[in-house]
């Protein structure tokens, strides 16, 4: 009897160990991610997106993974260069055999990557590429939890109209994002306020000295200057506008449409130049977050000791949506996942995410991405203390000039 008992106990232990090891050795689901991690890409935004993606994976794995399998993310560097992004996407699909891809910063890179995703029919969730042109391609594999240019253009133009100004100068970077947003902004402004004279000067994203353009503005200051540039170039132009006394001043508003104000290095770079800057914010600490959003904000704060930016939430939401779609599809097969993505109705960090099917700039876009326009009234003012000045239903103060 004793021997039989030992055999039974041993078999039980071996069985338990086998089950445990089977659970751990379940083949992981590999999701690919392409973000800029070297120049001339925006490494700051790439790092923020990566932080959000990693948080989501951590949370999903704690909850048991997807379809009983752990999730892993394989990261590739786009360097913010379209051909590098294209090669990275192709590598993830053909060599790493990823089931789907999340990521994307810099619209010109997403333009290139979307072609690859379409060619190989791999679902791709865009984290932070705003250009309408990517959506207008109508690729069924491409989904957008990121905001799009049209939404920001409308918000910015309506704010400018509310300011009641006459002359506006837009300074976009020479990318699909910058030029596309400037075009959309001008078009919408013309339709709602045809009396406003709005011109633009396209600037090089890799340049450092914008004096020739700023000297021209200093001679004949407009009522509003609207830079549309990713960091660090976005910071450089704000500093140089301040240095030459062009904006913000008693005469000229400064309106940033690149949501720079939310980024963790904003005040390390702009200092006095950021006082009285009004800017689009896709996340503001007073903004209503879902329970999931509050949890992500808390976890990010614990890990990094600083407030999450909107890019962290965007990165998180992209993976969260991907995981939900795979779960509902019940398999990794692309057609099934794409079908599930189209039917998404999921609570993300900042609201319930669904994808529009309307062709054009909102194709497979989460339309209701929340945004507001804030204004800093002090140097080094935390985002939480910056008043919201637009839209009127969210406003906590009126915009002010120096």
């Amino acid at each position: 009897m004793t021997r039989l008992r030992w055999i039974t106990v041993s078999m039980f232990i071996v069985g338990i160990l086998a089950m445990g090891s089977a659970g751990h050795s379940a083949e992981p689901i590999i999701i690919g991610s392409v973000e800029p991690a070297s120049p001339p890409g925006s490494i700051a935004q790439g790092s923020e997106a990566t932080a959000g993606i990693k948080l989501a994976v951590e949370m999903i794995n704690k909850q048991g993974g997807i379809l009983g399998r752990p999730v892993e993310v394989q990261f590739e560097d786009s360097m913010g260069i379209p051909e590098k992004g294209r090669a990275a996407t192709e590598k993830l699909i053909t060599k790493s055999k990823v089931s789907m891809i999340v990521g994307g910063n810099h619209s010109s890179v997403c333009m290139a990557m979307s072609d690859v995703a379409h060619e190989y029919r791999i679902p791709y969730i865009n984290v932070n590429c705003w250009a309408d042109a990517i959506r207008e391609k109508g690729y069924g594999e491409w989904f957008n939890t990121s905001v799009n240019n049209s939404r920001i253009a409308v918000g910015g133009a309506e704010f400018v109209k509310a300011l009641g100004v006459k002359k506006v100068v837009v300074l976009p970077e020479n990318t699909d994002f910058g030029i596309g947003l400037a075009r959309g902004f001008k078009k919408h402004l013309k339709s709602i306020a045809p009396e406003v004279d709005c011109t633009d000067t396209v600037l090089d994203r890799e340049a450092k000295d914008f004096t020739p353009v700023i000297l021209g503005l200093a001679k004949d200051p407009p009522d509003v200057v609207v830079p549309i540039m990713d960091p660090p170039t976005g910071y450089i132009i704000i500093n140089q506008l301040h240095e030459y006394g062009v904006a913000p001043t008693a005469k000229t508003w400064l309106l940033d449409l690149d949501a720079l104000a939310e980024l963790p290095d904003f005040w390390d770079n702009v200092k006095e130049g950021g006082k009285y800057l009004a800017g689009i914010a896709l996340f503001h600490p007073s903004m209503k977050l879902t329970d999931l959003g509050k949890e992500v904000r808390k976890l990010h704060m614990e890990k990094t000791k600083r407030e999450a930016s909107r890019v962290v939430f965007q990165g998180f939401d992209a993976v969260w949506v991907a995981a939900d779609a795979i779960k509902r599809a019940g398999k990794l097969e692309a057609d099934a996942v794409i079908k599930a993505l189209k039917e998404t109705k999921l609570v993300g960090t900042r609201g319930t995410i669904t994808f529009s099917t309307e062709p054009g700039p909102f194709f497979q876009q989460w339309v209701e991405v929340p945004y507001s326009i804030i204004q800093f009234t002090e140097v080094k003012q935390p985002l939480a203390k910056a008043p919201i000045v637009f839209p009127p239903e969210q406003a906590t103060a009126k915009p002010v000039k120096p």
Partner: protein, 295 residues
């Protein structure tokens, strides 16, 4: 007039950067591809010391000089010297090794800065607050920082030029630059001269980065574009020519500004290459360069 003055100011910063590159080429016949990273380290040193220690930005220029000098000397000692010390005749050195070493060093320093300081940019305080402006009628409106930084840069440039041109050490540098082997026969320690030149180059590039840091922001890859411009200037002025790099820098600074205002801002950074092509077609050795002589 303000366009011209802005061009002169930018030209001064370009000259600081290009002069170091030119000196290294003159002495070692090596193009230092890591020169932009000397600029980057100067910018970081300035921003971090000024912000963390909260000392006057003027005093921060001193540690920047020390850091630039040490960086140059250490790099020459560890990476460049092994390439040439065993060759008795300079012509025997394999230039391509030096190119690979400095190119690798550039990538290493950029990625090291990315790991240490993170991907986020940081801007240092101005020598005067950026909002403080100097207004001279309709002629010029500019921040006090830019004017003072120009003054400091011009002063350093003049001192560096006078030292290289007239001081005993400068004459030694010139001798090694003209004929390293001959200078060695005459008793000049060419190894030490190389070390000093690398140190001076580190100081000049570091100071250029520090003075521009409040306007450009320090980030791991900030040196890339200024370095490209200094390569253009060195070729434009004549490889290894000190007056050539200074004149080339001012020429580029001014022409860039005028081109951007009167032709197109979009093509601003291409004007330098356009000027370079024209000069090289008409005078292949550069403005102040000497024709290569085969003996």
């Amino acid at each position: 007039m303000d366009i011209f003055i802005t061009g002169i100011i930018m030209g001064t910063f370009y000259a600081l950067l290009a002069l170091g590159l030119s000196l290294i080429f003159g002495i070692l016949k090596v193009v230092n591809f890591a020169h932009g990273e000397f600029f980057m380290i100067g910018a970081y040193a300035y921003a971090l010391i000024a912000l963390r220690l909260e000392v006057s930005p003027f005093f921060v220029l001193l540690p920047v000089i020390v850091i630039g000098m040490l960086l140059g000397v250490v790099i020459e000692r560890l990476l460049m010297r092994p390439l040439y010390q065993k060759y008795t005749e300079w012509g025997a050195m394999r230039d391509e090794y030096a190119i690979i070493v400095t190119f690798g060093l550039s990538l290493f320093l950029m990625n090291l800065a990315n790991q240490i300081f993170g991907p986020y940019a940081i801007s240092g305080p101005g020598l005067r607050p950026l909002r403080e402006r100097v207004i001279l009628g309709d002629i010029v409106t500019m921040s006090s920082h830019r004017i003072i930084a120009f003054g400091v840069g011009a002063l350093i440039l003049i001192i560096a030029y006078l030292l290289v041109r007239y001081s005993p050490w400068g004459k030694v540098i010139q001798a090694v630059s003209q004929n390293r082997f001959g200078a060695s026969i005459a008793g000049i320690n060419s190894v030490r001269v190389s070390s000093i030149v690398f140190g001076i180059s580190g100081v000049l590039a570091g100071l250029s980065g520090a003075l521009l840091c409040p306007i450009f922001s320090a980030e791991p890859f900030v040196g890339a574009l200024p370095a490209v411009k200094s390569f253009v200037i060195v070729v434009l002025g004549g490889m290894g020519s000190v007056p050539g790099s200074i004149v080339g820098a001012y020429l580029l600074g001014v022409l860039e500004q005028f081109g951007a205002v009167y032709i197109s801002y979009t093509y601003r950074d291409t004007f330098g290459f356009l000027i370079l092509i024209i000069v090289l077609l008409l005078r292949p050795q550069g403005i102040f360069g000497e024709k290569a002589r085969e003996v």
